[in-house]
């Protein structure tokens, strides 16, 4: 990177597009993780990663628009994510109790 550009960046802050790109990357990692990981807990974590990637976008946009609402949205999302986690872990627990496995590929009796 050109030193002058770096200096410019320090002055104006990192451009929004960088955050957005990061957010997109994180989201994609989450999606990919969901598709390739086998442990249910890990899969669930990937979902959390996706939600948090979106949170990053919200904040970046809020910053860009100079609005506070975007920040507020992240709190909503976090609350929702927490609720989801509570319910989700409970469901995962009952699954484990009944089947003694956390391998997502083994939860496939309902099919066709």
């Amino acid at each position: 990177m050109d030193p002058s550009q770096a200096l410019e960046m320090l002055k104006n802050g990192v451009p929004t597009s960088w955050y957005l790109t990061l957010s997109a990357l994180l989201f994609s990692i989450g999606v990919a993780g969901f598709m390739i990981r086998r442990n249910i807990i890990t899969v669930f974590m990937c979902i959390e990663l996706m939600l948090n990637a979106v949170n990053l976008s919200f904040i970046a946009f809020a910053h860009q628009h100079k609005q506070v609402s975007g920040h507020l949205f992240t709190f909503f999302v976090m609350v929702v994510a927490a609720a989801e986690a509570a319910v989700g872990l409970a469901i995962i627990l009952t699954v484990f109790k009944n089947r003694s496995t956390l391998n997502i590929d083994e939860i496939n009796t309902l099919k066709n």
Binding site: I47, F61, N98, L110
Partner: protein, 486 residues
Amino acid sequence: MPANFAPSSSELLRFSPELILSGAGTLLMILDPFFGKKMPKLFGHLSIVAFILAIFGALAANGDAGPAFSNLLIVDGFATFFRILVLVIGILAVLASYRYLDRENSETSEYHALMLFSVAGQCLMVASNDLIMIFIGLEISSIASYILAGYLRDDKRNNESALKYFLLGSFATGFFLYGIAITYGITASTKLNVIATALNAPGVSLPMIGFAVALMLVGLGFKISGAPFQMWAPDVYQGAPAPVSAFMATAPKAAAFAILLRIFMTSFQQSATLWEPFIWISALASMTIGNFGALTQTNLKRMLAYSSIAHAGYLLVAVAARSEFGTAAAMFYLAAYALMNIGAFGVIIHISGKGEKHVQISDLAGLAQKQPVTAALLTVFLLSLIGVPLTGGFFGKFYIFHAALKANLVWLSVLGLLNSAVAAYYYLRLLVVMYMQEPGEVTNSLEPLTPGLSAALVLPAIGTFFLGILPGAVLTFARSAAIFTR
């Protein structure tokens, strides 16, 4: 701003259904320690009362229609229509659940509380005017139904159903949320009407709109179980407790369609050229996958799940019409569909027996000889699902294809109607089994209909005929409610 912080009385009124439902849900949980074991039916009764109160609330709110909470909510005919629809579904689902919960010796308070919360979330969704509110409503509704899907904790099918629903549902929600974020990024707002105007402004990045629309469609497509995001539905409906499947196949779906219509008919109306082809393809694919998938099923619940995918396809045809009339048609169809589907699931609840052992199509054998009334009621629902005249299902299809032809979607209409002829085949199979085969083990040892279940069958049947013979009232209301699309 601080002056406005306390909600006005009309704001409270416009929010009353959600308040009543969540209040009632909380009340049920408080009452559980006192009456949980002694009076299991009490909670059902109470939730019915709550639903009825909420219906009154919704009607009262409609009398004082308008926005609430700085335009986060909007109470209009559209919202009221769907609120009442999901509330009625709630009542029917509760009626259908009495016998089921009794048979499974299950706790009732949590069940009904979750039901109330879920409906509250749906009421919120349909009345939202803000993407974030929609998201919150959607999650309230979904989280409650995740639990409901796995309500019988020791049942492996329930577990699996809940897990699939939960994981895939959250996955899809992630996409939906991302779509909201991008929309917010482009327009600096999450208010639907503001978004619409902002998108019209010059200099908006078109690919970004495309991304936003695409991501939202993924999330909503999942909720309505439209192709190619329909795959969870058969597994989840099959695995969940039958009354919950009945509920899930109707209320969340209706609410999801409501927000799909609201978002795409207001915010993204101008970008219709973007999404209309996808809706077109998705409609056709949903109808085809649903109907052809149902052809080979032997499990009743699974068959109805595929059929619900197909019905989502018909509904998408109405969305593709992109008109006031199409919206009204979709609304009408959702009402008719909810009635016939709950009715059909009601019969499954009736015959399935403890532990849902009898959910095969063959278990219906000879039902008409043992319980002719039950068979006749299921016949009504099936004829409605086929789309035979004088039932609500027929008028629903009729309005939808009318809207589609009006919008010049000739080929989609023809293919859709041909699809409905295919669909006739698997519904007819049930009629064949019920009427033309000798009674089997299941039907021979069938207990009589309980009052609650009878009500859950008779009321939808009456409703189905009402919509089939005098559809005018409902359609007129739906059309007046659909004017927001102008």
